[in-house]
Chain length 120, copies 2
DNA sequence: GCCAGCTACCTTGTGTCACACGGTATGCAC
DNA sequence: GTGCATACCGTGTGACACAAGGTAGCTGGC
C-alpha cells in the first residue's frame, strides 16, 4: 500500500490540520493583500492552490466580512467587463499595523515550538 | 513571576492569537512528551511559561484526555512522596508517527506562508 | 430570443475546540 | 485544624473552518 497522498490521514490528524489552518489562513490573506488589492474570487483561486492551506469560498467570504467589520480591510466595488462586479479588498492602516503584530507573534511562537522538543 | 507577553492587544488580535495557539499547543505537548514522559501538573508548569503559548490547566487536561482517547499518548499512575498521585503521560508508537506527520505538515505550511507576502 | 456554463458573491448548519471558572482530594507546616 | 501548595478533572461560552447550497450577472451557441 503505497498510496502517496501529500500527507497520510487519520481522525486526529484531520482535525488538527483544520485547527492549525484556522489562524494561518487569516495571516495569509492579510499578507497577500499587503502586496496589492484583490477581489474575493481572485483570492480563492490563488490561495486554494497554496500547499497545505486548502482554502474554499465558504471559508474565505465569512472571513473577509469579519476582517472588514474589524476594520482591517476596506472594500471597493468595480464593474467588470466580463462578468459580475468585483469587490476589491485592501488593507487599512490598522490592518497593516495588526499584520506586523501578527508576524511578530508568530515568529515568537515558532521559536518557542522549535526549542521545545526539536533540536535545542 | 508574572511574565506578560510583549504584544499589544485588540479585539481581533486577541481572537486570532487563540486560534493560532489551538493547533500549536497540541504539537508542543507531543514534542515535549517525545523527549521524556511527564505528569500533567509538570506540563502546565513548563508550558505556561513558554512565550506565546499561555497554557492553563483548563486547556491542558481536556487536551490530554483527547490525546489518550485518540491513542497518541498512554498514562501511568505513580504515587508521589509529596502530594497526590501523579499521572504520567508518554507517547505511543502511533503518537510518534503522528508527530512526525504533523511536523512535516507544519513545515510545508510555514514555507507556504513565508512565500506569500514575505519576500517574493 | 433562450439556455447552458462560467464568473462572482454570500449564507446556513454542523462540529471542534480553547479558555475561564470552579470543583475535588492529598500531603505538609504551624 | 487551618492554611497552602500540589495534583487532578469537568462544564459553559463563544469563536471558527468547512460543506453545501443559493443568487445573480455576462457570454456564446443555436
Amino acid at each position: 500500500m503505497h498510496g502517496r497522498a501529500p500527507f497520510p490521514v487519520s481522525d486526529f490528524f484531520d482535525n488538527w490540520v483544520i485547527q492549525v489552518r484556522k489562524g494561518v489562513i487569516e495571516l495569509c490573506i492579510l499578507r497577500t493583500l499587503a502586496t496589492r488589492e484583490r477581489y474575493g474570487y481572485e483570492l480563492v483561486k490563488e490561495l486554494s492552490e497554496a500547499p497545505g492551506l486548502g482554502l474554499t469560498e465558504g471559508t474565505l467570504y465569512p472571513l473577509l466580512s469579519r476582517l472588514r467589520v474589524s476594520g482591517l480591510v476596506q472594500t471597493r466595488l468595480e464593474e467588470s467587463s466580463a462578468g459580475p462586479a468585483r469587490k476589491y479588498y485592501s488593507l487599512t492602516p490598522e490592518g497593516r499595523r495588526t499584520l506586523k503584530t501578527m508576524n511578530a507573534f508568530l515568529e515568537t511562537l515558532n521559536r518557542t515550538t522549535a526549542t521545545l522538543g526539536g533540536t535545542p
